[in-house]
């Protein structure tokens, strides 16, 4: 669990003049679920990519737990993208599908077992730890793919429209799952979406973006008013 400080952060893509993200500052508290909400091209994905290390900011700094990671390598940030790895391996049990990335990260077997069992017991998967993906429902498979990010216990979890390609019924289930996982494990989470309803379901706060500008950040209950009033904002 960690805090994130984005200070005067901005970004401009190569060979473009107009910034994709105009300078902004934002503090995300330990264990908070912040939703970056805005239409396509509003800059929400670029913010996540800067936090993740895929894009270098033009200005500003990124602090995780007070440590400046603006220029840190991807592997030195402890930021995980949910569904970073999509594949569930057919011959591997649920247990191994969840734990293998920890093995790659060099964790000892006991620690891997403890983490996998801790996560699966909290999300109702402990009884199927020895099942193979082929025996599972689509939703269970999606749950495992999401849980794979959680067992890594990253300082910051980021999600970039993870439900956008799911059928509506799976979208609702997955959103609930995302919310439950975040609440259960209190991971500091940033989630990008262009769907206000999703944002309202998920976030403790909603940061509203338009054309690369951070219009405002409000608690979820009042965010709708912020979005409604944004047409008055001069960008």
């Amino acid at each position: 669990m960690s805090t994130v400080s984005l200070n005067g952060l901005s970004h401009t893509y190569e060979n473009t003049v107009s910034p994709s993200v105009h300078p902004f500052s934002l503090f995300i508290d330990d264990g908070e679920f912040l939703v970056l909400y805005g239409p396509t091209g509003s800059g929400k994905s670029t913010i996540l990519r800067m936090l993740h290390g895929l894009e270098r900011p033009k200005t500003g700094s990124i602090l995780i737990d007070g440590i400046d990671v603006t220029a840190a390598a991807v592997n030195d940030r402890d930021v995980t993208l949910a569904l970073e790895s999509y594949a569930l391996y057919p011959h591997m049990s649920v247990r191994d599908n969840l734990g293998f990335a920890l093995r790659v990260d060099g964790l000892p077997a006991k620690e891997i077992q403890a983490r996998v069992e801790s996560v699966t017991s909290k999300i109702g998967l402990i009884d199927i730890l020895d099942a193979k993906p082929g025996d599972l429902s689509q939703l269970q498979r999606q749950t495992i793919a999401l849980a794979r990010a959680v067992v890594r216990q990253p300082k910051v979890l980021i999600m970039d429209e993870p439900v956008v390609n799911l059928v509506p019924e799976d979208q609702a289930e997955t959103l609930k799952l995302v919310k439950d996982l975040q609440q259960e494990f209190k991971l500091t989470t940033l989630y990008a979406t262009a769907n206000l309803e999703d944002a309202k379901v998920l976030g403790d706060r909603i940061a509203y973006l338009e054309n690369g500008h951070l219009i405002g950040v409000e608690k979820t209950e009042v965010a709708e008013a912020l979005v409604a009033s944004s047409s008055d904002v001069d960008l």
Partner: protein, 443 residues
């Protein structure tokens, strides 16, 4: 029921694609339309259909992603990156009752390609894991050079073609990819991080399925990718500083790049302020150094290592043959051949030297004769029933190896026709067909 929208490339069979049952979810398509089952791990429903003389892979995915991937694959192809070729996208699909269905992306089946899982069941070669990973490292470096961030690097998202004693890797799933003018360090790092995790997962899964030896270390395999990639990337991109008196080291750099299969298209050489050092930086490096040379000389299309082996053979043949008056013995069965020496210099690393003062053939002339005397006799001798076993360039490589082993065992040069006959009977006929591997029920 409105007809779906089909956007196809010029060479796709538009009318045949139209006739497919687009009103049905892909998983429910009747067998009569299907040319095989999907392979490997996929997030999507994938099926194969046979249209004319082409097999197409159909992936059901949302329309936006299908369109995006169609475009990306097209651009990658134009950039000469090894990838499957897009054929069409289908949008506005509905069921008979009008319920919307996802879009579909159609790509051409890559002939003679194999998924990594199949290679482990078909090859007894040592270090198959290492060779696959090395091929993937080359592919990843090539993708990064053209500004492609893959986002889901894995053996599962790659197809492999045999390439002499190595493999050539092809992008088969670009759904998560992004094309940029130039990648950031972070994008490359992320691809490597994902690759490291996914490759370990790919191999752990093979172990769990009993497909590979438990002795293979999946983590070592994924670490090998990083090592191979980082070494190659450094050679392709790093700035070197030389003394102004060491210009020869520029040639060394170019030679090393050639050995790795790359040509130097553009090099920046700058002198430092004191005028004592040169800073040398490759600006444009192009892959397929050997493939391009072989194509130019012979018209044969081949993967890089196949081409390297053939060029070695061609060069050996050329240096052992002479132009001009010296008449040499021939190994076809008694006739005389002005281009072969009495030791049977016939390519395939054969013995060199001849009496008198031989004049080496020009490169073009040597290639022309090598093609007629060495390559074509082999390819023409392959019965039609066996042409689906391997690509011609791989057939040549396997034949050369077969002949070399025979010669060593019998302690004599094996005449080409004899060697061809043994190769076809003892080797090629026993190989599985690899031209179209579309059924993976066993996996």
């Amino acid at each position: 029921m409105p007809a779906p929208s089909i956007h196809a490339v010029y060479r796709a069979d538009h009318s045949a694609i139209e006739k497919l049952p687009w009103h049905l979810p892909l998983k429910d398509w009747p067998e009569q339309f299907l040319g095989g089952l999907p392979r490997g791990i996929s997030r999507h429903v994938v099926r194969f259909v046979e249209i004319g003389d082409e097999v197409l892979a159909i992936k059901e995915t949302d329309e936006h992603r299908a369109l995006r991937e169609f475009d990306i694959l097209g651009v990658l192809g134009n950039l000469d990156v090894p990838t499957v070729e897009p054929r069409a996208i289908v949008t506005d699909r509905t069921t008979e009752s009008g319920q919307p269905l996802p879009g579909a992306l159609l790509t051409a089946y890559l002939d003679f390609s194999l998924p990594y899982r199949a290679l482990f069941s078909r090859s007894l070669a040592e270090d198959t894991a290492g060779r696959l990973v090395d091929a993937l490292a080359v592919l990843l470096a090539r993708l990064h050079l053209v500004g492609f961030y893959w986002g889901d690097v894995s053996l599962s998202n790659t197809l492999f073609r045999r390439d002499a004693d190595a493999y050539a890797a092809y992008v088969v799933d670009a759904e998560t990819g992004e094309l940029h003018d130039q990648l950031s360090t972070g994008q490359r790092e992320m691809d490597l991080r994902i690759a490291r995790t996914n490759i370990a997962g790919d191999f752990l899964d093979l172990q769990a399925g009993g497909i590979i030896d438990p002795g293979v270390d999946p983590l070592a395999a994924s670490d090998r990718l990083l090592e191979a990639y980082n070494g190659l990337w450094a050679e392709l991109t790093r700035v070197e500083e030389f003394s102004i008196n060491e210009r020869w080291r520029i040639d060394e750099r170019i030679r090393r790049l050639n050995d790795l299969g790359f040509d130097l298209g553009e090099l920046t050489v700058t002198t430092d302020v004191d005028g004592v050092s040169l800073l040398v930086e490759p600006k444009v490096v192009e892959p397929n150094h050997h493939s391009r040379r072989l194509l130019r000389l012979t018209g044969i299309g081949a993967n890089e290592n196949q081409a390297r082996a053939m060029l070695n053979d061609l060069d050996a043949y050329r240096s052992s043959a002479v132009s001009g008056g010296t008449r040499l013995h021939h190994d076809h069965g008694g006739e005389q051949d002005p281009h072969r020496d009495s030791a049977g210099a016939h390519g395939f690393g054969g013995a060199h030297g001849s009496a008198g003062s031989p004049v080496e053939l020009s490169e073009d002339e040597g290639a022309r004769i090598w093609l007629a005397e060495v390559y074509k006799p082999l390819i023409d001798a392959i019965p039609n029933s066996l042409t689906h076993k391997l690509e011609p360039a791989q057939i040549f490589y396997e034949f050369a190896e077969h002949r070399r082993v025979m010669s060593r065992a019998r302690q004599r040069d094996i005449p080409i026709r004899e060697a061809i006959a043994y190769f076809i009977m003892d080797d090629l006929a026993n190989l599985p067909d690899e031209s179209r591997y579309v059924d993976s029920r066993q996996f």
